[in-house]
Symmetry: D2
Subunit: 278 residues, 4 copies
Amino acid sequence: MSESAHCDILPDLQNSNDVRNIPLHRVGVEDVLFPLRVQQKEGRPINTQANVDLYANLPADKKGVNMSRFVESLMDYHNDILNVKMLRDIVSTLKKRMESEDAFIRFNFIYFLDKQAPVSKKIAPEGVPVSVVGFLDADDNFHRSVRFYVFAQTLCPCSKEISKYGAHNQRAKIRVDLYPSNMKHLEWFEDVIPLIEAQASVATYPLLKRPDEKWVTEKAYDNPKFVEDVARDVGGLFNEWLEGGRILGFGVKVVSYESIHNHQAVAYYNNGTPPFKG
Amino acid sequence: MSESAHCDILPDLQNSNDVRNIPLHRVGVEDVLFPLRVQQKEGRPINTQANVDLYANLPADKKGVNMSRFVESLMDYHNDILNVKMLRDIVSTLKKRMESEDAFIRFNFIYFLDKQAPVSKKIAPEGVPVSVVGFLDADDNFHRSVRFYVFAQTLCPCSKEISKYGAHNQRAKIRVDLYPSNMKHLEWFEDVIPLIEAQASVATYPLLKRPDEKWVTEKAYDNPKFVEDVARDVGGLFNEWLEGGRILGFGVKVVSYESIHNHQAVAYYNNGTPPFKG
Amino acid sequence: MSESAHCDILPDLQNSNDVRNIPLHRVGVEDVLFPLRVQQKEGRPINTQANVDLYANLPADKKGVNMSRFVESLMDYHNDILNVKMLRDIVSTLKKRMESEDAFIRFNFIYFLDKQAPVSKKIAPEGVPVSVVGFLDADDNFHRSVRFYVFAQTLCPCSKEISKYGAHNQRAKIRVDLYPSNMKHLEWFEDVIPLIEAQASVATYPLLKRPDEKWVTEKAYDNPKFVEDVARDVGGLFNEWLEGGRILGFGVKVVSYESIHNHQAVAYYNNGTPPFKG
Amino acid sequence: MSESAHCDILPDLQNSNDVRNIPLHRVGVEDVLFPLRVQQKEGRPINTQANVDLYANLPADKKGVNMSRFVESLMDYHNDILNVKMLRDIVSTLKKRMESEDAFIRFNFIYFLDKQAPVSKKIAPEGVPVSVVGFLDADDNFHRSVRFYVFAQTLCPCSKEISKYGAHNQRAKIRVDLYPSNMKHLEWFEDVIPLIEAQASVATYPLLKRPDEKWVTEKAYDNPKFVEDVARDVGGLFNEWLEGGRILGFGVKVVSYESIHNHQAVAYYNNGTPPFKG
């Protein structure tokens, strides 16, 4: 039986009036699991398993949003491939379906990059958590952002400097938010992720044979970095993008899972003006 | 440069002797991200993003395992599709490569099932977390197990019984471990998951229109279940499989995220004899 | 041996110059476990187990912060009781020790409130996660904020309206950030938490006997609320505080762990102007 | 109004008959937050914030357990101090109240130990997650177990051996389950935790000044350990306890958060015969 027939029978509470005079800037659903196809730089699109958040604003006079329409809008794109056009389309669809002033979607998924070990040249895929956001504002302007969680190694300059031998090192997480100005094409993750990774002491690799492990150990020792250094070097890299107009703003957070403590060392850096809260 | 050339130069510490006389039953890697293709009941294989654990035993006289070989073994199956044959092959490969007495692999991933809403008939994919385990023991016997995390709703019989109207209900998680006897074919997730789900008060659905929401609300109210009931009903279902020889053992854990408390109500039930610790 | 003696021998890398011209607005440590005593409204201070974050800014010309001084500053307050005076003191100490322009501390801990069941009157403690933040800015102005995670139940108005009987309900989390104007006294958690909780369909209780369970079931059924309603009612409550000057700004996020879906329904509302990013 | 008066009015569903002939070995509540006082080796008891699990068995003929009695039993011990006597009492109370054949309680909390830096001698508290379990079986025999999560550093022997300089190292987690034979006294955490920690390459410390950081860096470099080594050395330590009859069984799991990979290296070892499933 169609939904509209039932509408005559079933009251639509969400669509009724609200008198509290409080507009909500963001209402929606979070953690919707959805199979999402993503365009790679080369080769066929890959399938990912996205965790999706969808929001719309709710004007002061309306009681609630029709939550099922978020999931329906997502389902309309079941077979599409994630790229900027699809992002634009989906927030546009969302805005119409939700009868709202704006619409927001966030896709969180793992992107696999082939990682080649430095000496043995053996290749294995490394999974990088990323997020892609699309937002259509009240003036129908489209905005987007992308987030990367790049894992790498930091080796402590102080520890190296003061010790007879050795230097403590550890896994670190570099979280980068970019607000690109290009509304036509997504950045290729294959291009951006290595740039971020290169700012750490050395990258991590899923597959390392002994010659690779030697290379990685010595490279890190030759390239000690505080979390402050990583934040600055990633910052410097994206400051150039900002000056070149490639992005409108960005944020960096570096977290080092210190091997000498049971707590984390962290450093933050932001620059530019994100056009929306992502 | 090939790894073997370097072996002449680089000492192989893991392969040296150990004198502590302590065998380790399980050594390996955990949380390796890996793109895995999985056979569906109908249609083409789907791509998932698996989180993989690989282990082998370590005899008392050997100092360590060669950890990179775990990841290499996994990489050999980069293009394969997960089914029982592939599982058998991969633990066999692992056992040879690790030069161990046994080998164990666990794939954790999200499996998508199309879920059809009960009245509107609208379809949307629902992601179900599953795990598939393969184990080749010291006698070269192959064993396997599979785990499901099925989310559904429980509605409280007591609350319904004693109240003038309403009944508290909540999201619940039904975790099932099966140790199948069939070493040729995986169970189709499409067959097993609905059976488990049917033991709750009502299933969850990613997409519900108002007529569906009415149906789901009334169905749950008609079908109140304590966590004890769900554990028993899932238990009863799989006791039949056990008696029929379809499985060698199983375990159930039901967790209800009680809406009247900020803690969980739980119930456990096991039966049969798992042939290995999975 | 004292640290200063070693300073003559050990280079102080963090204190050297940096030429990248990138100031970092926040550098520090996160997830430091610390036993913290907290003032209750009545009775003796309670001991909590706090998870602490400490930051300071890093000017462009300095290479790094001296991370150990964060933990040392925390240790100086080992025996103090958390109240506004202690918060002011600790960020002041931090700012001096770090030789920075600002200093920030965040204490995350569980606060226990005695919860009395509505009919049986039986009392049991309920643990509420809270965060307390203190910030001393570059002009030596002190700011603070406090965050609450209040768990309660929401019952769906739509489900109630359209169904012959029953109504789906679930556990919900109401996250509130307050930026108080009072720089002398902390709000008593005992006062604020019940106000927030009262905006849901009904509160959760650690201990409910059958008469209580009946009361809670019927109360929720009489008081259906969308997440939008809860966000608006919590928002309305704190809008009054804002108008009265009791707070400078606030934020609300309501998350409902829907019992009919395996995803969450959410609503956000903010108002006022937080004086810092907390 | 008293609960007993209402019992006459309110049906007691959990106490009714069940005909499915399925006994459940474990039914109860999980994640109950509870303020717990714990006896220290020296000094006054400390307050912790425990996360508590309570279970009882459910015989085949009974429909459900009375969940509120778990929390009530816990509340009876609100002011008690955790030691073996209290553990014995509480499972005994639980067994009577639940009218069950057995009763099980698990307290998960953070235990703080003062950690002294090796050179500067500065002291700061380090939080160690622990679990304490008590179990009263169908024959009224009392059993107990205790779990520790000790964080420390592992430095890779292979990396050290093959590299010109440096050696990758990382934070590691050593999880130990002990099944003590002593039914009178808890082990002092202050005694056990340092023994476990000493099996890693070096301990972690909350507070390290530069001379300490040098000491820790060099100590780790002098003491390289694979996860296999740590598992064996912890295993060897507790094998002595087992032979001496101090414990009935134990289990070890070592997890190394490898700084060269974005996955973990792990090793497991068990010995003896745990008298119950904890």
